[in-house]
Amino acid sequence: MVYVFDGTKNGFLTAFLAAYKDENALLTSKQTQLPLGERTLFIDTEPLRAEKAKNRLLCFDRDCMRDFDTLLRSGMDNNEQIAFRYFHTLTKEKRPIGKMLSNPDVFAAVECMRKVGFEVHRFHGFIRFMETASGALYAPFAPDNDICDLLAPHFRARLPQFPFVLHDTKRKKAAVYDGKNVFLAPLCDAEIMLSADENAWQALWKRYYAAVNIPSRERLRQMRGYMPARYWKFLPEKQDPPTDE
């Protein structure tokens, strides 16, 4: 049976309560991916039932809601099913299972969470801010996973005096730091006025990037492995190289 829910956390938990005894259950909120010929049940989100499911899971692993949050942030197509199998295993084992790596369902969930965490780590490095005319910093990016609010604390800790916007252009939302608080906001297109010096600093950065490379040791495959091409769109150093010579 396919259990279709609304994509919210409470929706998942309600569906979980309905599905956890069904070995062949498939949980999804992505209606475009419904398999043909399967019986389908549309789940209405019920906060009370969700609460019940949550408390049940917490009995077995006090920290499992953190895993839940991470799994639902994943951009993988089947992340909700992975989460379902993980919690299904948790209810069977009745104890924390995070290290039980020889179990394929656990392994899949751990891998899925690792990817989210890894992308957060990557974007601590790959975020590129532009300085706007007001002095605020603006960084557009398109991550695989839903992580823009997870990145905010890192930048807030190191740039406390600069308001900034981390704009996930794929999900059309942004984590905004106004100099005091961080909040999430929907954001489609941002109109940006750059500061007077912004282009000159970008040019210096491109110059640096070109100069620090050692052409005789070209290892493009390594570079792409560490910094996949899908991330290049928002990196100034991967746009046209500096000219002259």
Partner: protein
């Protein structure tokens, strides 16, 4: 708070970067420096901000304050009599560059160094002035790695250490004899003495900190050093003994190796570059010393080189076949770490997973533990899946090594055009 913009020109940025780029260490890890008003903090795990087409990570802005040198190190393109474009930057230009790059999240911090300009004292003064300004006037709390200049006054070194996260004095060459020959103005003493002094000072400041008499930082990310491999005749065994001594007696955080590339024609220097495979092997052995509980005496005799055919752990295991196979479900951590092909991460994974179930060969595959090498050295619940005898094992290991290296061919390709490679090692001490 707005400073007058002191923007360095693209042309000088290019010269000062190209003269610094061959320095191998780019690590920004190890400092937990906190933001204290102003900008920046340390990131204990280190952080890569970009990758260049040569596959290297950009973490720090790696730059020289000047490439105008009075010394004559034989292997260096910046030496006094070389015909290369010269440039210098002012401390404010460097500070502004760091601030504006950091703010845009291009970099994790600064790696500053310099050629010996006018004299060691003057050069070190300029370096210290730069990092001091960066911390106190520009309120920068991100990562700073500073290269020390030998022969400069000890007090300058001590002052620098209060502002920066990491310092390094490069040991340059693995023996005194080679140093005399190739870097005639530097002596072993001039390089080792500052390292020793810094180690002692760091302990003193830690004591004072404990007693509450000192509040600031003193080199929170410690010291590193670097040496050129292949410009002089020392064997890997000798190089690694020096390395081990540096880790043990100087509390070095890292020793970096840089394979020699001939840029300069000189009868005293080899005309062939050192293969990158040799450098790779040294790093593998270095890793075993630091994280896997090996001592250099187990790995290679003093006058010998590491095996090119097998990685150092495989080579060691082949010499110690009587210790294998080990049972994956019972072997203690130290033993797991010595199994070829099992890295620290997988060793820990195994320790955890076996608490829940007896692990079979299949389970290990499911956990994506690479078994290409390991299977010849382990049993899983009593079962052995490796080759029958030692000769076969050697064959399989050599094949594994070859296929790995083939995948990384570009990594080990010999550097064939010296004018492209331009510089083997750089402009700095």
């Amino acid at each position: 708070m707005r400073y007058t913009i002191r923007m360095i020109t693209e042309e000088r940025l290019k010269i000062l970067t190209e003269s610094a780029k061959y320095d191998v260490s780019c690590s920004s890890s190890g400092s937990g420096r906190k933001n204290a008003g102003g900008m920046g903090n340390g990131y204990v795990a280190g952080c890569c901000h970009s990758f260049t087409p040569d596959g290297r990570c950009i973490s720090l802005l790696k730059i020289l304050l000047s490439n105008d040198c009075i010394y004559h190190c034989k292997y260096c393109p910046n030496r006094a009599d070389a015909d290369v474009p010269r440039a210098s930057a002012t401390p404010d230009e460097i500070c502004q560059l760091v601030i504006d790059f950091y703010k845009r999240n291009y970099i994790e911090g600064l790696f500053l160094s310099s050629a010996v300009c006018k004299n060691p004292e003057y050069t070190m003064e300029r370096l210290v002035l730069t990092v001091k300004k960066l911390r106190t006037e520009y309120h920068f709390h991100g990562y700073i790695h500073l290269k020390g200049i030998p022969y400069a006054d000890e007090r300058l070194m001590e002052e620098a250490a209060k502002y920066v996260d990491r310092m390094s004095y490069n040991i340059e060459l693995p023996s005194e004899k080679s140093l005399k020959l190739l870097a005639p103005q530097k002596t072993k003493e001039s390089l080792l003495l500052p390292m020793k002094e810094l180690t002692v000072k760091k302990q003193q400041y830690a004591e004072e900190r404990k007693k509450g008499q000192y509040k600031g930082y003193f080199l929170p990310a410690g010291q590193t050093t670097q040496m050129i491999v292949g410009a002089s005749p020392e064997a890997d065994g000798q190089i690694l003994r020096l390395t081990q001594a540096l880790y043990r007696s100087m509390d070095m955080k890292r020793v970096y190796y840089s394979s020699y590339v001939p840029v300069v024609q000189d009868s005293l220097l080899p005309d062939k570059p050192t293969g990158q495979l040799r450098e790779h092997r040294l790093y593998q052995a270095d890793w075993l010393l630091r994280f896997y509980g090996f001592s250099v005496e187990e790995l290679v005799a003093e006058g010998e080189n590491l095996s090119m055919e097998y990685d150092p752990k495989c080579a060691w295991a082949l010499k110690n076949m009587h210790l294998f196979p080990v049972e994956i479900n019972r072997a203690p951590l130290e033993t797991l770490l010595r199994v070829p092909g099992i890295g620290a991460k997988n060793a820990y994974k195994i320790l955890e997973a076996r608490k829940y179930a007896t692990l079979s060969f299949e389970d290990l595959t499911k956990m994506r533990v690479a078994l290409k090498r390991a299977k010849h050295f382990i049993t899983c619940n009593g079962k052995f899946f490796g080759a029958k005898n030692e000769t076969q094992i050697r064959g399989f290991l050599a094949a594994a090594e070859q296929s790995d290296n083939a995948q990384q061919l570009d990594l080990f390709a010999q550097i064939s055009s010296p004018q492209n490679a331009l510089i083997s090692l750089t402009g700095q001490l």
